[in-house]
């Protein structure tokens, strides 16, 4: 049984009005425990709508979502439980901070779960550690933190709920390159140490290819591809056709292959590329 199974999922905005639009169209897939999945697509490709359906913030107009084999909308009154299991970090999550101290803000989710005070404290501390927030910052007001710290505090607020599945919508948007790298490696190490499932939405194929095991490519509300990272990049040219950027190094490899060099085109990191090119020279 898969951890999360999505069957013929569709969502239509503004049914019956002039603005009617199918945001997600007949998506079916299953996600296993422990996978790190990257989701990529244009603005308006339906990826935000898709992930919001996964934790019950948006109710699908058609299709079902099974979490641990159970339809999440079976009992609409229990949808909050689903949201604790499927944690969601929105774009620019720092705008959701509201408490007097960072500690209290991170504790908001666990508190809503109805946990005991000791456990809440423990969870706040460990969540803060995952995102590398120093303990002295926890007593400060969230509005005194720097931009990057705010972002990490907000992510900690979701991690503290200890969800089985963590979904992050463009967590690196608006960060500088260093901040981006640090955050991505923190997410990656969180994934490794907890061995839970992570879904990461991003614009950057470069970022995603570095850390995701599998990639879901969305295009115009449809599932364009869903496969292991390596296999996705063997379809590099098709992906470029729908207007998505592929990593620069993949482009180079495709270009070289076109010029007659016997090189694989499913390469997405510079190290792999170096190895392949050196191998070619040796022959």
């Amino acid at each position: 049984m898969s951890l999360l199974e999505v069957k013929n999922l569709s969502f239509t905005y503004g049914t019956g009005t002039a603005f009617e639009k199918k945001a997600v169209n007949d998506v079916s897939l299953s996600i296993e425990q422990g996978e790190f999945i990257g989701i990529i697509g244009h603005t308006g490709s339906g990826k935000s709508t898709f992930i919001q359906m996964l934790n019950g913030l948006i109710k699908p107009t058609e299709g079902q979502i099974f979490l641990d084999g159970k339809d999440i909308w079976e009992n609409p009154k229990k949808i909050r439980k689903v949201r604790f299991k499927v944690g969601m970090v929105f774009q620019y999550p720092e705008y959701q901070l509201f408490e007097e101290t960072v500690e209290k803000d991170i504790a908001f989710g666990p508190k809503n779960m109805g946990l005991k005070d000791d456990e809440i404290k423990e969870r706040v501390a460990s969540a803060a550690k995952f995102v590398d927030l120093k303990p002295e910052l926890l007593k400060k007001s969230p509005f005194e933190l720097s931009g990057g710290e705010k972002r990490r505090a907000a992510i900690a607020g979701v991690i503290a709920m200890d969800p089985d599945i963590l979904i992050l919508d463009e967590p690196t948007a608006g960060l500088d390159p260093r901040g981006r790298d640090v955050l991505l490696s923190q997410i990656s190490s969180y994934h490794k140490s907890k061995n839970n499932t992570v879904l990461l939405v991003s614009h950057s194929m470069e970022d995603i290819s570095r850390i995701a095991d599998k990639i879901l490519v969305m295009n115009k509300g449809n599932m364009f591809a869903f496969d292991e990272t390596k296999k996705i990049f063997s379809k590099g040219e098709e992906i470029e056709k729908i207007g998505l950027q592929i990593p620069q190094i993949t482009k180079i490899m495709i270009g070289l292959a076109k010029r007659g060099y016997k090189l694989p085109t499913d390469i997405y990191s510079v190290e792999q590329a170096v190895n392949e090119i050196l191998r070619l020279q040796r022959v």
């Binding site: 913030l57 949201r83 929105f90 999550p93 705008y95 959701q96 509201f98 908001f108 779960m113 979701v158």
Partner: protein
Amino acid sequence: MLKEITLGQYFPGKSVLHKMDPRMKIILLTCYIVFIFLTKNYISLAIMAVSVLGVLTLSKVSPKLYFKSVKAIIFIVIFTSALNLFYGTGEPIWQWGVLKITQAGINTAVFVAVRIIALVLISSVLTYTTSPTDLTDGIEKLLKPLTVFHIQVHEIAMMMTIALRFIPTLLEETDKIMSAQKARGADFESGNFMNRIKALIPILVPLFVSAFRRAFDLAMAMESRCYHGGDGRTRMKVLKYSKYDFMALGVLTVIFVGVIVCNVMLPVTIRTGM
């Protein structure tokens, strides 16, 4: 959910009403509102009601939107009508304990209901067919004479433009913050009154913070572009009355005269209002 709110929203279009000068629309709307309350018998009320429907048709905005704006106030309409129904004076037609319904009560109830609905509909026409910038331009021009009293008309108009401009932005922002807090298990739908009020804090605090941030950013952007208030400022688009404005003025004058004539010639059914 919040996106459903249509109040103060503009729907671009090419109808006659869209082409009218905002100043004329504001003036005629004001007259309309006055005349809705001047109606004294069913005939003049019917004239106003029918002409409101006529204006709605001319606007070519989907009837669903008008229906929605009425739906928003239907509770108030029912409540005030019901209240008036039982407070009429005169011979009771129906009585049950202290509750009694009289002919006068029924008349007032009908008048109140029709007046409120007509008021909301006709005001929606203005906002649906006039872009916020045109609207405030119109208001600014109409209030210009007040500068004599040292009232800073341009600044007021600018503030209104900005406020209107940010309604959809803030609604969208509220939606986002609500989703984010819901994802952290916030519960807005259950609990007693106090709990529900408390549940608003996680929404209101971030909303205020972001509203202030936007305000500061905007002030900075405006200053960077050398904005310094209304003195010596000229307009790219100068408002001009067109033939549609005079046509509208003509038609509505006929309607208004009709209402006055009906009021004077026919027996009065209702004395409340103006």
